[in-house]
Symmetry: D2
Subunit: 368 residues, 4 copies
């Protein structure tokens, strides 16, 4: 298997470059019989599109998806589904300027080394945040699949940006409010402050990071294949593909390290004839297997690396140290646009494991 492929049975292949002709995704393994249209995908793509607000990059892309295979008469056919968006608002000049002076915190230098200069460096190429559009396209299909067949619901939202923490809000508020504001936070008061913080740092030529939380509801019991394809293993593998992610935790995560066993273990109890845990410090996963409680995870996003503040770099030809002011259009905080990406990636993993567990058949029984 190669690096641009995710999953075993719901398999995603990502292709395309930031300033190339397109960004694309192929999904192979999606069961036949799922109602699917370009609108299903467009909806999610629109949530991560650049140019939507003051707090995101000014690059203006319509990101209009085309489904060029695998769908027939409004249903998936069981064949590979290829989804594409064409790149239109491409301006590679700023990248030519900095081609020999790699941006600190970015993949410029490691990509140059790994591919010995052959990589498409324009706009960051395969290392651009724009590549996550392919995750969103595949994820929209996954999201529809798992919701349509199993009722699984995946919600991501910002809980901290630039040091400003959101208060805990109800699942219902998360559901309703997370996309109501530019920073994708369900605590509207915090959202306002986060937005101001981003704008403030942006005006200084700097950037901020933050934390995205994701909850998955209606998770079937028994997902996850121990030991190396535990649900935590496969979720983390997939989520670290999102640029700028530097940490992940499930349930209470790092906080668990300071608790005693008696404080950390979730007691079992009975509710409506079913065994549940009366708390959910485990985040819905025990022994790598889903236990039916909501999956809860959090991702650490570092601040965006492309900033206007001068930074130390080294010229690739002369090996002389140099000051770099990154030109071009960049997000001052990638957290808001990462939120739909997180939902997409988590959905892909849930789809893959649902199929592996035999819970979604190769053909979905609906009426034609």
């Amino acid at each position: 298997m190669t690096g641009n492929i995710l999953g075993e049975r719901f398999l995603v292949l990502s292709f395309g470059e930031s300033h190339g002709r397109c960004i694309g995704a192929v999904v192979d393994g999606c069961p036949a019989g799922l109602p699917l249209s370009e609108d299903d995908i467009q909806h999610d793509l629109d949530l991560r599109r650049p140019g939507l607000s003051m707090v995101t990059s000014e690059r203006s892309e319509e990101d209009k998806v085309e489904l060029i295979s695998g769908v027939f008469n409004g249903y998936t056919t069981g064949a590979p589904i290829c989804a594409l968006i064409w790149n239109k608002d491409v301006d590679s000049k700023p990248y030519e300027q900095i081609r020999k002076t790699p941006r600190p915190g970015h993949a410029d230098l490691t990509a140059f080394w790994k591919y010995e200069g052959y990589n498409d460096w324009r706009g960051g190429g395969r290392f651009s945040g724009r590549i996550t559009a392919s995750f969103v396209m595949a994820g929209a299909i996954a999201k529809k699949l798992i919701h349509y067949t199993l009722g699984i619901e995946v919600l991501a939202y910002s809980i901290e940006i630039g040091g400003i923490k959101a208060r805990e809000v109800s699942d219902d508020e998360i559901r309703r409010l997370r996309y109501s504001n530019e920073v994708r936070c369900a605590d509207l008061e915090a959202a306002e402050k986060m937005k101001m913080k981003i704008t403030e740092e942006q005006s200084k030529g700097d950037s901020v990071g933050g934390i995205v939380e994701c909850k998955v509801f209606n998770v079937p019991i028994g997902l996850g294949e121990p030991v190396f394809s535990s649900l935590e293993s496969d979720l983390s593998k997939a989520l670290f593909s999102i640029p700028a992610v530097k940490g992940i935790e499930f349930g209470i995560g790092f906080e668990a390290t300071r608790l005693k066993g008696s404080e950390c273990n979730d007691p079992f109890s009975v509710k409506e004839g079913k065994i549940i845990t009366s708390s959910n410090r485990a985040g819905g996963i025990l022994g790598g297997i889903s236990n039916g409680m909501p999956i809860v995870l959090r991702l650490a996003f570092k601040p965006a690396s492309s900033i206007r503040k001068p930074q130390k770099t080294v010229h690739l030809d002369t090996l002389k140290e140099d000051d770099l002011i990154v030109p071009g259009r960049h997000d001052p905080c990638i957290v808001p646009r990462a939120v739909p990406v997180v939902e997409a990636v988590v959905s892909c993993v849930m789809a893959d494991h649902s199929i592996r567990a035999g819970l979604i058949p190769p053909v979905i029984k609906t009426r034609l």
Copy 2:
């Protein structure tokens, strides 16, 4: 691919059960020509063996490894290497007692659900910490391979146990001191306190968690296959296979979420004619690709779930809530024994990616 397999080109298959006949690992894809003996593996197995000290389980297993394939005349042959330890000190009685009352915080219930009762529940079966012996066997081969061919060095050590943090120590101290004490901590003063903390909580029938840090030195530039097989992706996937891990972070990890871009980006500079970063907040990985700086990661271990303090559980047959006092022999803190496991797992991923990057050939050129 199935759940008990890790890696693409340096591939590990884990088998065996805690109270079955054996624990085993098969490594397929190890290049031919690597000098390898049972001693190489035994050394690492001994570091995770139970029964070694007051702070670990009293189960007494010799854990003597047998290499039953893939090695000939002291060298690997290119064929699959099967390594085995036989289980000897098995006492399944305590597990019979609690078979119908799943332990909170453990995989008892999810395993029962997933396998509908067919799973080998004795000693936790495939979900026991004992399974990590298979990781250590495979990891010892990987560790030898990457050190022998590329000089890569993998060091793990406890940096926090039961809330007690170690001070930062030099890499050299880590190298020398981490295995000098029962809690695998290179800060000897903290080590002493950690040990006391473990014993104290154990005496109360409770357990503690902690944090393991791992550094990898002499990492070749260019490891990691974007986007879904980034080095962070594959390391995290592998490491979440270790029971009780609930979080992972690379470099400064979650701390990065509160910094500005100008504070977080590692500036480039030149040292001995090579481009390096003058700090290492990224933890040696940029854009999913190794940059030649040491890889740094940290793992959150929750407190051991098997404790003597009474906990709430539910009887599987009656669905009545019940109090459970976990019988049997259990580690009051799994962090110390996890340290060599972390080294092993990280070594497997480094070996896999080194082969994928073409840095280790199918036959190692040494003299026969």
Copy 3:
């Protein structure tokens, strides 16, 4: 892994449908630094294009390839390469007529059963010979890669059509003459007869089959990973993906079953200081591993299944038996157009195994 993917390190994903919007292929794992243009691919696509002669289908498709990712400044970048042709001359009416009366010898019925009617049946959908255009696009990249780096040469050609056998001709004649005629046969006299035979049967509303032979020259020693990824294993797996293939043999193949060991074994001898075999009954593969002699294989193609002669079928709704005269445009013999497809598929497998054996590095060292 899913069904539309071939290979491990030089990985091909095929997508698209016969009467959908396009036929596409993504190649992931192609090393960076290979000079590649659309012309390289167009050349091979033109060799399998329909509408070229009297002996092939009248569907007229330009099959103009577009490379929409993975190539930059004329070189591969190490990123996934997506190649596309758009379908233009689509006429699905004949397929609507026969939708409920599956064609004998074709996948109509099994596809209907497997996908419960959701499959895109227009033009045979994913089961059309047109899908092999995706093999040719990927194969052209593979062919260039293995020739550019290792000098490997792959030649396929018809050796029997409709019962007419070609005489054995020299490798040089094969090289020069196989594409000089419509039936892709290097024995020009036989070629003429084959063409007449095809036309004759076509005029009767019938079709013919035949045999394609393929030789691979300059094969590096040591390709093939025993036991399950032997070179024969992976070649046969790949080649059975070509519609209408019903048999494969290597070297003397089935003839070997009637020889004695002393007649079948190829004796070793020395030539220019190297060990060779003085005959090549093994077809260049011993123990699943290439031995440096030319690889020789033959493929049995059944006669094309879509014929105008009336055949017995069953109506899917009424379950009544019915006579079927297949409408639409079909090849009376698919062997000629299969020849470049065989070259393509063999090239993909050779590329994959060359990379797996460490013979082609992740970046090809040429000058930018």
Copy 4:
């Protein structure tokens, strides 16, 4: 994925060497809840055991299987199943004698080249026919699984040995008679002649080849994942792992190349309310997908390569040509012992595809 692994969801890993400590197989992905004992496996192993008759090698191995993981209380647990036989009657002296003079027709030289001398050459190491014992162990599990859950039946048998062809016999005779004689042929008259032929050639220091046919009954409709994991693709890949196989054909195979479409296509008809084909020239597979008719395939086995007749070889050190009389104990015809191996390998592929098609769930519902 590496070379010693077969399958995706019913995954087989083969390990061990001919003269090493053992031969082993790990099956990962076998559903939980299958009744399984060592007897199930021993039965099939006994059918391929050496030393059973005059027409097979004199090496005397008990080949007593041990199940060392994955089975508990008589049922599979869903965990990896490791099955082992220990090597006992090992005599490596003959192989030391010929170490530098590779046997024509055998893997000695290609293995030496590929592994640069590190491979375990004793008894042919990984290239020995003895490795197929690992296929049989895995296959016995697969065979039980597909028969227990879906009623699939796999029958292999010799139809030609040393040029002597068996007459066509009924399926019932095949079922009853194939293992009633040493050459595994259901035509008892031919069996007697085959046996005489083998003995005759053996007495002259020579060997013979032959053809094994395999039929699979009660095949569910819809197995096979187009295009690259067609049923023919995956069966052929798996079967070419059996040493000495040089050709494979499905249905009428190569004979189809000489028929017209109207003669080759199987007409559809209705039987007991179901659509069937009234002939089965396709061998049960259309478009790579099973159509419910029996799968029929034939394998060409070359004559055994290890013969006592002098053959030309080359000394590896001196590069001088030399005469070789192969010492040691060898089968004069491997066809009889290959018969249970073919059944095993076909069963593994059928199990894998049955699981992939969602026909066998992760847990088999039986009563504990």
